[in-house]
Symmetry: C2
Subunit: 313 residues, 2 copies
């Protein structure tokens, strides 16, 4: 059976694996991205990481990269996690070192392709995927293929505007879905509630403001599950905005099948009902009736699997 | 050369024509929709209207209908202009009276298909069309075909939410693009400015509040062109929201080619710069660089031509 190398480059970890045509991961590894994050340093780390797979004669290599990527040109235009990269011809440079074809795509697109191949989207021709993490990743699958739009930058669903005059987003816009329905969004909702004096004396919540994202998320989940009405309200607001964002993308594209992934889905019991309620109020009845929301199934290896699928094609 | 019948049913007018494979309109007519707007009355009016074309042996009939339409099932689920219609099997009923295949789609979708065939989108594989009128019509063309989403209700771009807590929209949601960037949106912006006391004593503008939509639009354009800073500001706000809506749909789908049509494009000199400015601020640079906006070219017959194109397929 043919094999390929699938790579998922994130902001913190580099994951890679050798995958066969049925989607079995024969070997895999996860390493921390080194401190030196230049273009050449990354190429080197990838090349070293995949050395062991080469003797098994893979036929291609697929790679997912966070950021604005052109699959056609093999270029990473920019990446939030790698600010020094600038029109980085990553495909070309890898290709120079390797005897097999190399193909890249945006990381969220490849997670979606993985879910389409072997996960929650197996029986759907078309769907929208959102990953809810520090930010929001997005992808659109149409007829089992990644939809790229005109120049390849589709799926920035986290940057649909939900609140024209809302909080500034790192992308330069204001009130994007991502500033509400992400880990950094939770932090923002919490801060806004404290500032508006909507939080009754609640030291546990006030202390949370300085904590790192993942700790806040865990703590806010625990507090809500232990009965804190305020923590529950923060999650409800998170769900409210997520529901509005889903309504917008469903109304615009007519794609009613949704897969939600990312670390925050561990708290879906705290926000998904609010999201569905808001979504129902903001779509026509005929549209709302056909909406289906599923949780992503593949977890950590989704990116490797999607990259492998891309490489097989 | 083969011929088909193309029909464009609007809220006020019924337009129909006989069209050949090159897109020549051999005959056409426009009639006011009769007062009796039941399902059977419309079928009768359509049937009477197209009688003269039947002797020329058309091979199919295409029909555009405003509202939520399933092309696959030939059903109009609901229509803003025909509130009595309820799961109206319009294709089936027309088919009973006619010896040729009948196919329907949403009116904005067919305007887009017309522009793709013979108009502003001739050289674009994929684009988004918005018609700016009393409301906003929307359509997505991908690879020269109408994109229908999961159940056929794609292109409700006017119902992307731009302002989560904004004004109530007739669709049941709040702060949709349509409540700002349409003729009724202009009225709303005007009313809000008067209410906020942002309008200095300006009888001409205050008097406009009660006027019908099309008169308001004309008057606001004239006032702005004659130098009224307030009227110009209303159009600027219109453009601001249009730009945000375009940023949202472009970010989400990656489709960077846009066609704008509808009656309000007569005032494009008053709002398009503001829209482009806002769009530029709310998209990544790589995305913004590829954006192209064109004015629809086909005007009134666009619906007939799109319906004909559909019929030929």
């Amino acid at each position: 059976m043919k094999k390929v190398i699938g790579i998922d480059l994130g902001g913190t970890y580099l994951r890679h694996g050798l995958v066969d045509e049925s989607g079995n991961i024969l070997h895999q590894a996860k390493e921390v991205v080194r401190k030196e994050r230049s273009e050449t340093a990354i190429i080197k780390q990838i090349f070293n990481g995949i050395q062991p797979y080469l003797k098994e004669k893979p036929v291609a290599l697929g790679l997912g990269v966070p950021g604005i990527v052109s699959t056609e040109k093999g270029i990473v235009y920019s990446s939030p996690h790698y600010p020094d990269w600038n029109n980085f011809s990553i495909t070309h440079l890898l290709q120079n070192e390797l005897p097999i074809p190399v193909v890249i795509d945006n990381d969220a697109n490849l997670v979606a392709l993985g879910e389409s191949w072997l996960g929650a989207g197996r029986d759907w021709d078309s769907f929208i995927l959102l990953t809810l993490g520090t930010g929001i990743g997005g992808a659109i699958i149409i007829d089992r293929k990644i939809f790229h739009g005109t120049n390849g930058f589709a799926g920035e669903i986290g940057h649909m505007v939900l609140s024209a005059e809302g909080p500034l987003c790192p992308c330069g816009s204001r009130g994007c879905l991502e500033v509400f329905a992400s880990a950094s969004g939770l932090k923002r909702i919490l801060a806004a509630m404290i500032e508006d004096g909507e939080l009754p004396q609640n030291q546990a919540l006030e202390d949370l403001q300085g904590a790192p994202n993942h700790e806040q998320v865990r703590e806010l989940s625990e507090l809500a599950r232990k009965g804190s009405g305020t923590a529950a309200e923060i999650w409800r607001q998170f769900g409210y905005y997520l529901g509005i964002g889903l309504a917008s993308i469903i109304n615009a594209t007519g794609i009613q099948k949704i897969i939600l992934g990312g670390g925050l889905m561990g708290a879906q019991d705290l926000f998904l009902d609010a999201a569905k309620k808001e979504l129902g109020q903001r779509t026509y009845q005929q549209t709302a009736l056909g909406v289906e929301i599923r949780k992503a199934q593949l977890g950590d290896p989704a990116g490797i699997l999607g990259a492998s699928r891309l490489a097989f094609r």
